[in-house]
């Protein structure tokens, strides 16, 4: 089992995830990992003061559908690049600023494949995986809006949906 897709409330261990990818094969020559964190400000919402500190962030997802979509995104990456292993971990539930929220890691023979595949996985995850973020700031809860820049980034990889 060289791929790992997890949706979990628990935190993850960057060193442990790196080690798992490194141990997959002695042919692995490049590992790129990305880790997303919860910021303490939110500039993408029209209803939240960008200077107001974020108290917390809650992540909702669609159980069953999210797992299938992430597995599909991983398969698409494996069609595009020769990947020895892929890890995608996304946390759900309530998180605080500076908490780790998402991890993507890929193991390949060469660095460009690893950088590109990691970027592709994040771009697709951001625009296709069924997660929704709600932030609490100044005592107010607010669901976040999707960013056009994320859709633009995903679109640069070409047609992604079957429909």
């Amino acid at each position: 089992m060289t791929d790992l897709v997890c949706i979990q409330t628990d935190d993850f261990d960057l060193a442990g995830e790196y080690r798992r990818l490194r141990d997959i094969s002695s042919r692995v020559g490049a590992i790129v990992t990305f880790c997303g964190l919860v910021r303490d400000f939110e500039s993408s919402s029209s209803e939240i003061d960008p200077d107001a500190p974020i108290n917390n962030l809650t992540l909702q997802h669609y159980p069953g559908m999210t797992e299938a979509l992430l597995a599909n995104i991983v398969e698409q990456a494996k069609i595009r690049w020769p990947l020895y292993g892929v890890t995608v971990i996304h946390r759900i539930g309530t998180l605080a600023p500076t908490d780790q929220i998402v991890f993507v890691g890929v193991a390949t023979e060469h660095r460009k494949q690893a950088f590109d595949a990691a970027q592709f996985l994040m771009d697709y995850l951001k625009t296709q995986a069924t997660f929704w973020k709600k932030v609490t700031a100044e005592g107010k809860e607010q669901w976040l809006d999707a960013k056009g820049s994320d859709n633009d980034a995903a679109a640069e990889w070409g047609e992604s949906r079957d429909d």
Binding site: L59, M65, A129, W132, K133, A146
Partner: protein
């Protein structure tokens, strides 16, 4: 019966919506259910009419005119914001 799911901000607007609706086999569609919701929940129906809102049936993205059947799980999905 058809189970209804609302995610993100749609869930807040659908607070008082019955999550299980009876329908005539194959005659109901996501669009028809949206129109039915508009009778009592206009704010929700307005938000559901936004072009970025997607619908899924049994966890597969479908078109708004997809026929629905007894036991289907219909979900309304606002633009995703994970990562």
């Amino acid at each position: 019966m058809i189970d209804l799911l609302f995610f993100g901000r749609l869930g807040d607007l659908a607070d008082e919506v019955d999550r299980s609706v009876a329908c005539i086999e194959g005659r109901a569609t996501p669009l028809a259910i949206r129109e039915w919701l508009a009778v009592d929940h206009q704010d929700l129906a307005n938000e559901l009419s936004e072009p970025q809102v997607l619908v899924s049936v049994n966890k597969m993205i479908v078109k708004w005119n997809q026929p629905l059947f007894d036991g289907d799980e219909l979900a309304f999905l606002p633009p995703v914001t994970g990562g």
